[in-house]
């Protein structure tokens, strides 16, 4: 089957993402990325030291049409050409989700296109299927050359398998590690369109939140991820031994009799430990060793995330692990995860950062899979579901 023919058959899908502070609109044809346009309200949240839902929702409404127009222009298509509209229906901030959902319903209704309300977390996995557009449109946000941690693309077996109709699918036994300001989850993905299972997640703060809160404690500013990453470079990651949450035997159990929190994380105790360490220096009137604390904190987070993710993967037969979420930009996380996956003989795939952070292309990518799989579209009456479970891939 020629590339052109298969590409022509693949569904053209527009994806909309507004679950947090990024207004993202992406367009894909099957697994080919045509546009990935993102407007972020992050700057407006900086002075608050965290995302303010009402500010995010206001920004989505303002940014929606300009972002839509730019995405269509980048892809060189008209809305009437698309086969379907996909939109994040959850999980996320309700008020923010509702802007994208209502806008998506308007597009679907006006253009008479099927609507797919999709799961934000599963969309983060779907992005792993995207391939660069044959003649790239020079989209600054969408540099499609993915980082493949297990060396160059020499191994043809590692490529996603093409299916009839030109759609690629995930390799068998795929897992996904999602680490962001709102999420810390490990998923087993039997099928992107019909079989996703949550293996573990944080029971309190998301990892990105822990970075934000610790950066605040250390006076490093917001967002905390890049700030800690930078400060840690000059620090000793072993200067302090900060706790790795939920690693005690009573929580973890064994592979045969797993404890309740074997594959779960907790970062609230870590945050408290950092606060105590800072306090000790302040009380003693000594300068706070910011770089050492940042490096040791980062090491604690990254150590426990990667250790638990790799163990969960091994115990569930996962042989390909995808990394997603904004914290995927963290250098130490990439480094340690690469090392530990290699040791466990797990192939690690890390999409480019622009596709790891929240974006519309991932929603479009999942939408295209749903269309190709013949999944029934959503009704115009679907709600925003702020706590949509991963099993609900589309609503």
């Amino acid at each position: 089957m020629s590339e052109t023919l298969s590409a022509r058959r693949a569904p053209l899908v527009l994806g909309i993402e507004t679950s947090c502070d990024e207004t993202g609109i992406g367009i894909v044809r099957g697994t080919e990325l045509l546009a990935n346009t993102v407007a972020s309200s992050m700057e407006e949240h900086v002075r608050f030291g965290g995302v303010i839902p009402e500010i995010a929702a206001r920004a989505h409404l303002e940014a929606f049409l300009p972002t839509l127009r730019e995405a269509l222009e980048t892809a060189g298509i008209e809305l009437h050409e698309v086969d379907a509209i996909a939109v994040t229906s959850g999980p996320g901030l309700s008020g923010a989700l509702m802007v994208g959902l209502s806008a998506a319903k308007g597009l679907a209704l006006a253009a008479d296109k099927p609507l797919y309300g999709v799961n934000h977390l599963v969309a983060h996995v779907g992005v792993g299927l995207l391939e660069p557009h044959a003649n790239s449109h020079g989209d600054s946000h969408g540099n499609p050359s993915g980082h493949r941690a297990e060396g160059p693309d020499a191994e043809p077996d590692a490529e996603p398998e093409p299916e009839p109709g030109g759609m690629r699918r995930l390799p068998e036994n795929t897992g996904a590690l999602l680490v962001s300001g709102g999420h810390t989850e490990i998923l087993r993905v039997g099928s992107l369109t019909s079989d996703v299972e949550l293996l573990g997640s944080t029971i309190d703060d998301a990892a990105g939140e822990a970075f934000d809160k610790t950066a605040r404690l250390l006076g490093l500013g917001y967002p905390g991820g890049p700030a800690i990453d930078a400060a840690a470079v000059a620090g000793d990651p072993h200067a302090f031994r900060f706790p790795r949450g939920l690693t005690m035997p009573k929580f973890e159990g064994s592979a045969q009799t797993p404890g309740k929190h074997r594959h779960n994380w907790s970062f609230s105790g870590l945050k408290t430990a950092v606060a105590r360490a800072v306090e000790q220096f302040e009380v003693a009137g000594r300068p706070v060793p910011v770089a050492d604390i940042a490096a040791s904190f980062q090491e604690a987070v990254v150590d426990v995330i990667t250790a638990k993710a790799v163990r969960a993967s091994r115990e569930h037969g996962i042989t390909t692990l995808m990394l997603g979420g904004g914290v995927a930009a963290n250098k130490r996380l990439r480094e340690l995860l690469t090392q530990r996956c290699a040791e466990a003989d797990i192939e690690l795939r890390i999409p480019p950062v622009s596709l790891c952070t929240d974006n519309g292309a991932m929603v479009a990518a999942l939408g295209a899979q749903l269309v190709a799989a013949g999944v029934t579209p959503s009704s115009l009456q679907i709600p925003a579901d702020s706590s949509q479970p991963v099993q609900r891939i589309s609503v």
């Binding site: 206001r58 409404l61 802007v99 959902l101 209704l109």
Partner: protein, 249 residues
């Protein structure tokens, strides 16, 4: 509407309950409404589809889409605006905003009070702004039978409003502070039918349709607003103490 001689209009309001209407020069072709305040994201798009079908209207054949821009609770308000802007964008028709309180003011003029009209012909519209406040505006019944906006819209405690007869749910929420014009009027919610009629009148005063969702200055001058929410309040967010300290230092 005597002045209006062209085109079908789709009107949407989600500033309190939610409502949809399709109107033409002969009147209302189809309408839908709910008093529910927490289901806009679920029901409004389907309601537009049904109302358009009932009215036998096509999107591309519309003169424009009219949307209530509030004031009203933010989340629900945005649902209507996000929907309306997508519809107008895809259909390639103009999108106009109308203050949602104007709907109640027009109803007050269309349905004069049973007993003793106010000598000044002035009155207030007050709706629920939650947090012990009302959204309100002051109007006058002008001789041609339309409500003229004199002041507002604003948001404040009911006790701070001018002493005039009040229509809208604000009157039933704060009877100790506000003098309701009548019992029925104290339960009125904004409605797309009146917003559509007001837009027809205002569009009748300007020449050709403005396309592509960008009302020209003439449309804005004629009492049509940009299709942007009238929040009237900042977001609740307070800059945390540790961030304030840093920003002032």
């Amino acid at each position: 509407m005597r002045n209006y001689h062209g085109g079908v209009i789709l009107a949407i309001d989600s500033s309190a309950g939610a409502s949809v209407a399709v109107l033409d020069a002969d009147g209302v072709r189809a309408q839908w409404r709910t008093a529910e305040t927490t289901t806009h994201a679920e029901v409004l798009a389907e309601a537009v589809a049904l109302t358009m079908r009932d009215a036998e209207a096509t999107g591309a054949g519309l003169r424009g889409v009219v949307v209530g821009v509030g004031p009203g609770p933010f989340t629900g308000l945005r649902v209507g605006l996000a929907l309306a802007q997508s519809l107008a964008e895809v259909w390639g028709v103009a999108l106009y905003g109308v203050c949602s309180l104007d709907s109640l003011a027009q109803r007050a003029v269309n349905q004069p009070a049973d007993s003793g009209t106010s000598t000044s012909h002035e009155f207030l519209v007050a709706s629920d702004a939650r947090r012990r406040e009302v959204y309100w505006a002051r109007y006058r019944a002008e001789p041609q039978g339309f409500a003229e906006l004199l002041e507002g819209p604003r948001v404040s405690a009911a006790s701070e409003l001018p002493e005039l007869p009040v229509v809208g749910v604000g009157a039933s929420l704060y009877p100790q502070d506000l003098a309701a014009r009548g019992t029925a009027e104290s339960h009125w919610l904004p409605d797309a039918v009146e917003l559509g009629q007001l837009a027809q009148r205002r569009l009748g005063q300007i020449p050709e349709p403005q396309r592509r969702g960008e009302p020209a200055a003439t449309a804005v001058g004629a009492g049509l607003l940009e299709p942007l929410p009238l929040y009237l309040r900042e977001s609740d967010a307070k800059v945390p103490a540790h961030m304030r300290a840093k920003q002032t230092s």
